[in-house]
């Protein structure tokens, strides 16, 4: 009897086992994987608002110190051959420091002004749902796949719908349909992307009613062979609001447009041989916003991913590439480009693409102040990314909606190329262990205009978001200024050479020049006051007779005259120079960057490099009449910056990424704000406010901000160690 039971149980177990095996073979497939990423930040700025080096949105934190770990679980299932499901459960670094002791940070202790602590999700190790995607592949002749959910939209174009990153690369969600014909030589992609309400509209929002806002995109490409391709693109963005004038709700509620954006584009490429390649692209955009639902202007320095009002413009580029000409190792790439001042595609790539051939500016000069601060003339605005900025050169994006948020110093910086037009030529040479490349770029600007290109408006009532203003050493997201007459020349040569010693020593170096001039206000009719309004000798003082460039519009409303004060040495003079000459706001930058470095594979697992970068900038960025639009620290003078960077990369089976970067920045800024004013001394209040020594020389600007006249010496160290594991 017992034997019968045992045999029966055994048979049952076998049956279950066999059944299970069958299910495993024929039924749904499910897999679980993951990644973990650990980061260790250290820096002498001693900020601890987040485990990211840069985040400047109001109420958010940033930091250069702390340790943290995030994890994501990658879930993938295939219920049938036609259906695939993917999702991620992802914790975020943000303020999840190891010092939180597993989520038990102090509930009441703030680490940024708006608070974090244990009860703030940004610091209690919360996990977010990310990247949920269902992909259907029904096998229809007219449809290859339908994707419902998350994507980074990388199948489109960075001028139209770019790869979108905001912490993660697949936060954008929508519907994507893809199909093909003619043996896949003709493909099409159609998508409806839900418009991100966090940033995808005028003033970085999509209004009150967001749930029905969307971007509609269509792209079709014909690639009969690898020698020729042509692509057409269309995008339509519709940001709507509920019509508050519709009082009859029995038939539903009416809606009306808040913002619309249409972009059409065409691209073609011919690739006839291994040595020649030609590509052309053209894009045209229109957009408008409702005057009563979106801002109608941005003051002098508003923040928005798109200008106010109704505009249209075009962008385009032509690339000719010649590679390894006659087997010589010599190649040359030429790019002609134009990105219109009013070109806008709300969903264009914000960071993840580099749309131009030029190196552009360097990431170490990212924002207007000498130490990369914005609004540094006023208290409470310290630098965020720090004196060192970001490493390397910038990558250009075709939008002012640039996103460098949630990045660290070792990542590339994106800069806007809105308004850029010109030519880039990059010769290259490769032979054996030697790689050489050079660049010459001539850039002028479609944003070169006077009084925002519209005399009928006040300069403080602009349609164009000037962001951090085009002042100082750099301004990665600023494309617009009230007055601009700017040209840029970029020249560089860089090289790599492998010395045959041991495992080979990598030598690399670069020499880069930028000559940039901007006459800004270049017509005397825009000067704030009539000629000789302020006395320059005898009894000082100004008559304050305004100069009107149209109607009641005068730049005197912004660049008003100074008072007469007693300076630090007891002499009488103007608090700042009266704005009396069109040269008072001239910008003239002579910039040299030199790099030398070496790298070596020390052991099988460890690669290390050491580089030294030297930057010398002789900058005239207006005088005390201009005051960097009264808002930013003046940066006129001599800048010298030194960077020592050590990088280590460690590889071990199972480690996806592991390394350490140490950076030491030191340098000086010697201000030269020109004549025509008397300096005063900083009092205790100023010292407390903007962190200058009591008694140091400077001047208070029109808005009460303080510009120091003392030589500044900078010293910044920072380190980032990281480890990423895929499991």
């Amino acid at each position: 009897m017992r034997a019968t039971r045992t045999i029966g149980l055994a048979l049952l177990l076998v049956a279950v086992a066999v059944s299970g095996t069958a299910l495993a073979q024929q039924g749904p497939q499910f897999s679980l994987g993951g990644t973990t990423y650990t980061k260790w930040l250290w820096g002498n700025a001693r900020d601890q608002g987040a485990l990211y080096g840069f985040k400047d949105a109001p109420g958010e934190g940033y930091g250069d110190n702390g340790q943290g770990t995030e994890i994501e679980l990658l879930i993938k299932a295939k219920p049938s051959k036609y259906v695939e499901v993917q999702a991620r459960l992802h914790s975020r670094f943000y303020q999840n420091f190891w010092t939180n002791f597993g989520g038990f940070g102090s509930p009441s202790e703030d680490c940024i002004p708006n608070g974090c602590g244990e009860f703030d999700p940004r610091s209690n190790q919360y996990v977010k749902l990310r990247g949920v995607t269902v992909t259907l592949t029904p096998g229809y002749s007219w449809l290859d796949s339908a994707t419902i959910g998350s994507s980074d939209w990388g199948m489109f174009d960075p001028y139209v719908v770019g790869r979108i990153r905001y912490i993660d690369r697949d936060n954008g969600q929508g519907l994507l349909f893809q199909g093909s014909a003619l043996d896949k030589t003709l493909t099409w992609d159609a998508a409806r992307i839900s418009l991100p309400r966090l940033w995808a509209g005028p003033s970085y929002n999509t209004g009150t009613y967001h749930a029905a806002d969307g971007a509609y995109v269509f792209q079709t490409a014909f690639k009969p062979s690898s020698a020729f391709d042509v692509t057409g693109l269309f995008q339509w963005i519709n940001d709507i609001e509920v019509d508050t004038l519709d009082n009859n709700w029995d038939n539903g509620k009416n809606t009306r447009m808040r913002f619309r954006n249409t972009v059409v584009g065409a691209k073609a490429g011919i690739h006839p041989s291994a040595t020649f390649d030609a590509k052309a692209a053209f894009y045209y955009s229109t957009y408008e916003s409702a005057n009563d639902l979106a801002p109608t202007g941005w003051g002098l320095n508003g923040y928005s991913p798109v200008p106010a009002g109704k505009h249209d413009d075009w962008s385009g580029k032509l690339n000719l590439d010649f590679a390894d000409i006659a087997g010589s190792g010599f190649g040359i790439n030429v790019e002609a480009f134009h990105i219109g001042a009013e070109y806008a595609s709300m969903m264009a790539a914000r960071r993840e693409s580099d749309v131009l051939l030029t190196e552009g500016h360097d990431g170490t000069w990212a924002l207007p102040g000498p130490n990369n601060a914005t609004y540094g003339v006023f208290g409470g605005n310290p630098t965020i990314i720090g004196y060192g900025g970001w490493q390397g050169n910038a990558q250009q994006v075709a939008t002012v909606n640039v996103d460098n948020q949630f990045t660290d110093f070792n990542e590339p910086m994106a800069e806007t190329a809105i308004g850029w037009e010109g030519l880039t030529i990059t010769p290259t040479f490769q032979k054996g262990a030697l790689d050489l490349a050079a660049e010459y770029s001539y850039i002028t600007y479609d944003t070169n205009w006077q009084a925002w290109g519209d005399d009928s408006r006040s300069i403080t009532n602009s349609l164009y978001p000037a962001m951090d203003t085009l002042t100082g050493m750099g301004s990665y997201r600023a494309a617009y200024a009230p007055f601009q007459d700017k040209t840029t020349h970029i020249g560089l040569i860089k090289g790599k050479y492998v010395v045959e010693a041991g495992k080979g020593i990598d030598l690399f170096g670069k020499l880069k020049f930028i000559e940039e001039t901007d006459k800004r206000l270049n017509d005397a009719r825009y000067l704030p006051y009539k000629a000789n309004d302020c006395a320059t000798s005898g009894t000082l003082g100004c008559a304050n007779v305004k100069n009107f460039y149209s109607g009641t519009n005068s730049t005197a409303d912004y660049f008003n005259n100074p008072g007469v004060i007693t300076g630090a040495n007891g002499q009488q003079g103007y608090q700042w120079k009266p704005f009396s000459s069109i040269s008072d706001d001239d910008r003239d930058l002579s910039y040299v960057m030199m790099q030398i470095g070496a790298g070596y594979q020390w052991t099988r697992d460890l690669y290390g490099s050491l580089e030294y970068n030297y930057y010398n900038a002789d900058l005239q960025d207006g005088n005390t009449a201009f005051q960097a639009y009264n808002l930013m620290e003046m940066a006129s003078g001599k800048h010298q910056k030194n960077q020592l960077i050590a990088k280590f990369r460690y590889s071990l089976g199972g480690l996806s990424e592991c390394g350490l970067i140490y950076e030491y920045n030191f340098g000086t800024f010697e201000p030269d704000f020109g004549p025509g004013f008397v300096a005063t001394k900083a009092d205790q209040g100023t010292s407390n406010n903007v962190h200058v020594p009591v008694g140091s020389l400077g001047f208070a600007n029109r808005y009460g901000g303080w510009n120091s006249l003392e030589k500044r010496e900078f010293d910044q160290q920072r380190l980032k160690a990281y480890m990423k594991i895929l499991f």
């Binding site: 024929q26 990388g154 080979g504």
Partner: protein
């Protein structure tokens, strides 16, 4: 008579030098437009995978002193959209070499992630990997995932791309003894995947349906060759080699995705 003798000596010397030079360079061509694996594969849909990116067109191996210089050309201009730093990003090339031409000597199993095997007569002894990933990353991945091939996988310290050509050099001694002109070669075009499947050696998957970052036209299991283009026939670039490639990469799968008949590669020889 003296002149004739001198001419003969000169001729012989030139011939000797020429033959030596010839012996130190091996090159094969591959037809364009055959970057479809066994004939059905399609590229991922993301725009970084430009048409022709994985279309192998030419392979060269040249001995320079104690170095072996490898170069592989593809059907379109190389680009570096992921900022890998070496002039290319999406490609990954496996160059399998049969250095001893002995049946049964070497490996018939290919490196993980390729889902191919080699005929016994063409078992490989060395594999040179041209990847945009840092050398130590590729080497450590190979050690972890293909420890059985320790010493047989060779990764150039630096691999770079220019125009349409990916190149890298390795020490000749790392490839073993013998005349490179008499070795057998096979080149497998794959795609660089920084976050590969657990067992795959930095390779990108081929599934039944293409996705944003995976090839389509294959099978969701691992029974299909994850090889987008290979050398075939005599390596002359003749259009007939497209059919040779299809035959070589032909495969059969079980219903559950297991392999029934694995694609079997052969070497190409001068």
């Amino acid at each position: 008579m003296k002149n004739c003798f001198r001419t003969s000596v000169l001729f012989l010397a030139i011939a000797l030098v020429a033959s030596t030079a010839l012996a130190q360079e091996v090159s094969f061509k591959d037809p364009s437009g055959d970057d479809k694996g066994p004939g059905t594969y399609v590229y991922p849909t993301d725009k970084v995978y430009t048409a022709g990116s994985f279309d192998l067109t030419e392979f060269k191996m040249k001995v320079s002193g104690d170095k072996a210089d490898f170069s592989v050309s593809v059907g379109t201009k190389l680009e570096d959209p992921w900022g890998m730093g070496g002039g290319f990003a999406t490609q990954m090339v496996f160059i399998f070499i049969d250095t001893d031409n002995k049946e049964g000597s070497g490996f018939t199993k290919a490196l993980p992630g390729l889902n191919v095997e080699f005929a016994a007569a063409d078992a490989w002894d060395k594999c040179v990997i041209l990847s945009p990933q840092p050398q130590n990353r590729v080497a450590s991945e190979a050690e972890t995932k293909a420890g059985w091939a320790k010493g047989a996988v060779v990764v150039p310290v630096r691999t770079k791309g220019m125009g349409r050509t990916i190149s890298g050099s390795v020490a000749l001694k790392d490839l073993g003894a013998g005349d490179p002109a008499k070795w057998g070669y096979q080149v497998v075009m794959q795609s660089n995947e920084g976050f590969p499947d657990k067992a795959d050696l930095l390779t990108r998957k081929v599934n039944e349906f293409e996705g944003q970052h995976r090839f389509g036209g294959g099978n969701d299991g691992d029974c299909d060759p994850h090889a987008i283009d290979v050398l075939a026939g005599k390596g002359t670039g003749d259009k007939s080699e497209i059919e040779d490639q299809k035959k070589m990469l032909a495969y059969e799968c079980e219903a559950d995705g297991a392999s029934k008949k694995m694609a079997t590669l052969s070497m190409v020889r001068k």
